[in-house]
């Protein structure tokens, strides 16, 4: 039976940059375990002859010609930015790197 442990939820929370309290970890671990269990039932039904599906439509090779289309203006591009400087997106200090 597949499942998810409290430690795995804590790890995922870290990767997702979510700060979870102890009781939240317990809570979400239980909920996620239920969801994974429900999804796992699909695997029980699907036999060897049913390949994993990532795309619901039987389409391949949808491509675009290499032709330039108009971009947003810098003003439009930055219009949703919480902060900007020198026509660039301004982001907080990046930690945990370098």
């Amino acid at each position: 039976m597949p499942g998810i442990t409290r430690e795995e939820v804590a790890h995922l929370a870290r990767l997702a940059r979510l700060e979870l309290k102890g009781e939240e970890l317990d809570h979400f671990a239980g909920q996620l375990d239920d969801i994974i269990g429900a999804v796992a039932r699909v695997s029980e039904v699907a036999d060897q002859d049913v390949p994993p599906t990532s795309h619901p439509l039987p389409l391949t090779n949808v491509m675009r010609a290499d032709v330039v289309r108009p971009s947003l203006t810098p003003e439009q591009a930055l219009s949703g930015a919480p902060a900007q400087e020198q026509q660039r997106f301004k982001v907080p200090q990046i930690l945990g790197e370098d």
Binding site: D66, E85, R88, K90, V91, I94, D98
Partner: protein, 502 residues
Amino acid sequence: MTVIDLESYEDALATYDPVMGLEVHVELGTKTKMFCGCSTELKQDANSQTCPVCLGLPGALPVVNAIGVESAIKIGLALNCEIAEWCRFARKNYFYPDMPKNFQTSQYDEPIAYDGYLDVQLEDGEIFRVQIERAHMEEDTGKSTHVGGATGRIHGASHSLLDYNRAGIPLIEIVTKPIEGAGARAPEVAKAYVAELRELIKALGVSEARMEMGQMRCDVNLSLRPNGTEQFGTRSETKNVNSLRSVERAARFEIQRHAAVLNSGGTIIQETRHFHEEDGSTTAGRIKDNAEDYRYFPEPDLVPVAPAREWVEELRGGLPELPRLRRARLKEEWGVSEHDMQSILNAGAVDLIVATTEAGAPSDQARKWWMGELARNANETGRGLDELPVTPAQVARVAELVAAGDLNDKLARQVLDGVLAGEGDPDTVVEKRGLKVVSDEGALSTAVDEAIAGNAAIADKIRGGKVAAAGALVGAVMKATRGQADAARVRELILEKLGVEG
């Protein structure tokens, strides 16, 4: 900065066997990004080439660039790879502001090309086969500027500024299988591989592959194992090594560093490392995330790519002559040594010389100008040969003027100087600077008479049979004519007037 212990290269190799993995990212030369129609033109205003797709705005849908896929297949075929019959894109999830989507669209376990090889030639002519694991399609990230820290480094920065013009530009990542058996030549193999790959990419016409502009970047993964053992040691990953020389230096440095750590009883940490051009050293970066931490999953917004076999074969049929084989052919045609051919390659002069011969110049003349005067100028001005403001056709014209006797070598150099200085094409420079060889026999004769009169002692020596002394008089005439005389003709005249047989 901490001091890093290094073992001597020889001692390191006496104990350990290096194993390398090379990852090369090539920015394709497409007009538009990989998944949207934004322009890829460089050096544009910050954030002037973005759209909802490459900014990762909700609801935006990517569509893959057909030329991006075609280029990936061409690269795969040129690297003797299998081309996938069906493959998907995948999301590589990570939080870093260089990708506004919070994931990079890449390929995971279904690369478009896999299982190939590239034969590379080492300095002594030996052919080394580098096995290729895969080549896959992905996209470049945005450009960060770190503000507030020392010298623009991220460390100590108060905040960062992001320009997403580069985010989404097509990249092909080419990954080798572990390179074993190179021994002490591992750094040389690494350099030769990247050099050959760059030539190949250029020959395919899919990218200009200029390393100095970041269009081609190399990560050097390296580990050591005790000689005679099989199991790989822990590797370090030196990121963004961006010149051929640096690739060689980074591999060499890591061999020496690993050996020192291992010899002192320490363990190598699997981490990324930063390469420093100034002294060829590397310093620790971040501890490497496990692959599963990227939580790859198939990209739901892009449908699978299933290149038709007819298309693949059509592309295979259109592949150019492989650069290594082309160089071997040209080496024969030009009658040059392996060493000379290597120098021509290193100078980036192969295509320029070919173009110059195609414009009518004999190959020895084409080589002479590109590898002599022009290489010197490129060196002094810190430019690549192909960045000089002179065309192969203009060089061919200079060679033609020399062959016709209108210019001598000295004047030809001045003509090239003029062309490089933007004074116009060779004929215009000759005209404007008055650089014709003095072919007026009367003027030459007068200059020779004056030289003889002014150097009576030397003239006597020549009359007495010391023909070699004529050089001094030729020099005097050349000086008097400001180099615009045909030296061979001057010499003939001198000997004639002094009644000596040449």
